[in-house]
Amino acid sequence: MNEQIIWIVLKRLRTPFLIIIATFSISILGLVLIPGLDDSGNVYHMTFFDAFYFVSYMASTIGFGEAPYTFNYEQRIWVSFAIYFTVIGWFYGIGATVSLMQDESLKKAIHRNTFRRHVKRLRTPFYIILGYNSITKSIIDKINGDDYRVVVLEKNEDKIDELMLENFYPNVPAFMGDATKQQMLKIAGIHHKNCAGVISLFENDMINSQIATICKILNKKIDVIVKATSPQQVKHFKNMDLEHIKNPFDIISKRIFYGITAPHIWLLEMWVYGHILKLRKRDRFPKGRYIVYGYGRMGHAIIEGLEKANIEYITKDLDTQEYLKEKNTTIFGDDEDIQSLIDLGVQESDCIIAATKDDLLNLTILNSAKQLNPNIFTIARENSLDDLNIFKAAKVNKIYVVEKLLADVTYNYIARPLADLFIIEARKKDEEWAKVIVNLLNNITGMNPMYFETKIDEEHAHALSLKLHDNQAVSLANLRRSRANREKILNLVYLLLKRGEQVYLMPDSNMQLQMGDELLIVSDEENYDDFDYIVNNIYELEYVLGYSHETN
């Protein structure tokens, strides 16, 4: 593991060592050969030991004095020559060692080794995140913890420094390297048995596709979570057998579609992402005429949704770069622009979507539209998180932050797979069904319930798994009883049960539990704590099962 560093160091130290050996041996030999006089005036020769001892402290400039007897002039002439000779050799050796410490390639090798060691030591599943930016930072913030760890590869050294300054806990190993290089992915632990997946959300689709290909070749078992912004790209990824393709524009389009046609399905999805479970008036998408300003990747995706929802719309393309060149500003709203809005029929429309690449342009388009038609519903695309406050202050009805969307969706997929599954299943249902569910949840668990994911296994439900191993039948309804008083019922709803590949939406309460079942439970913290206690504690479980009353 440390091989490489040792070899680099040893090879570099070759010359300093040789010089020190040469200077020492010449000085020692000279001292031994030159005859000296002892205290009583007899001729003597220094032994090798005397000479070695003297040269050792002379060369290191310690200088204990002349030993074993005071030197005569022949000896002193030789010593004065040897002083410069050995000290220079000695200093050269020290200098070479110090410069070696500062050597870039050595530093890199040491850093690489530390990184590799950190990755190797990871005992929990981890994701390799490619590129460090505001999206991946918020993903790290959310998933880095006890269940999952992350490893970051980033091309830019400044970004790595930025990451180091964040002081993530637990520590996030990061290394500077090109994510499209196989070698780098290997160092980042793509072959590690705990590697759960690779997250590649680069702006450039080409890079994402390159990375996806490499990852699939290197390790077939891991998840590759990849961003794609065009339908062609999505198709390409699907052909590669990638399951988790995140297209932010497609997500926005779907949300608008459900917002218009099935607001309660929309609400359920938004609730999973942290919205309250209540449809406020300002959340409702109008059903009239839509203007889509900006006809790029997002515009195309939105129109697909609008067409499916059978909504009348008009589009207007706007090239942000050309606009900037022509008008020398990204503030929309001169006479020509206002006229174009009026031509698009802003006064007769119910909703305007600003979907250009430029945040400021989007904001000013909506402002101008609002001036012309105060009742218009406004939807903005926002590209980077930095401007969020301006948008909020501008009272835009719906803001789609592309970066945040990607981060949230990725997080949900990784850390809350059942909630993710729930959204997919709910979308297959209709508005009536969703309405019933929302009402049910509101009645039992309130307006802003939380949701929990758990698995029936020894780790998460110890007592229950003991019972199940004894072939005891336990139904979902059995577990819904309060441990304080089993006649009372806990305020929780089983939203989804996953058994192998089978998914049961709103499972029947008489359903018998099996080992390995995964449950999505809606509740509040208190009630869920009770549930958690019951499935883990054998006494509580026997109580709620009514054990003492039963004959078996």
């Binding site: 040893l10 570099r12 130290l13 070759r14 031994v32 032994t47 090798f48």
Partner: protein
């Protein structure tokens, strides 16, 4: 064959020959073994060791190992000499034999190095 190989090769063989010069003679009589020869053997051995530092080939690693063994033996021999002379302050037969036989061990390590070196040379010629 390059210059580095010539230099390191000559140092390996020189280490063996000088060491043999020191070792040769009656192991119980110290005057048959010159201190200068021991000094030269130590220096040449150290240089041979340093020349093999950082050599990542298989042969380089083995040569480094054998020359480190020779260094240890020779330095031990010199240490025994200094100890016997200054601390015990008289040369018993035992001390003399120890000095000579330690260098004999080093000679064995030197011989191994040289054999490996020759073997590698022969192999590369084929």
């Amino acid at each position: 064959m390059n210059l580095h190989k010539i230099i390191s090769g000559s140092f390996f063989i020189l280490a063996m020959t000088i060491n043999f010069g020191f070792f040769y003679g009656d192991p119980t009589v110290l005057v048959e073994h010159s201190a200068f020869e021991l000094f030269a053997a130590i220096i040449v051995n150290l240089v041979a060791t340093v020349l093999k530092l950082g050599d990542r080939t298989q042969l380089g690693a083995v040569l480094l190992a054998t020359s480190i063994v020779a260094d240890i033996q020779l330095i031990a021999s010199a240490t025994v000499w200094a100890f016997a002379k200054y601390v015990m302050s008289d040369f018993g037969i035992e001390a003399v034999v120890a000095i000579v036989s330690l260098s004999g061990g080093a000679l064995l390590a030197n011989v191994v190095s040289v054999i490996l070196f020759i073997g590698d040379t022969l192999k590369s010629k084929r």
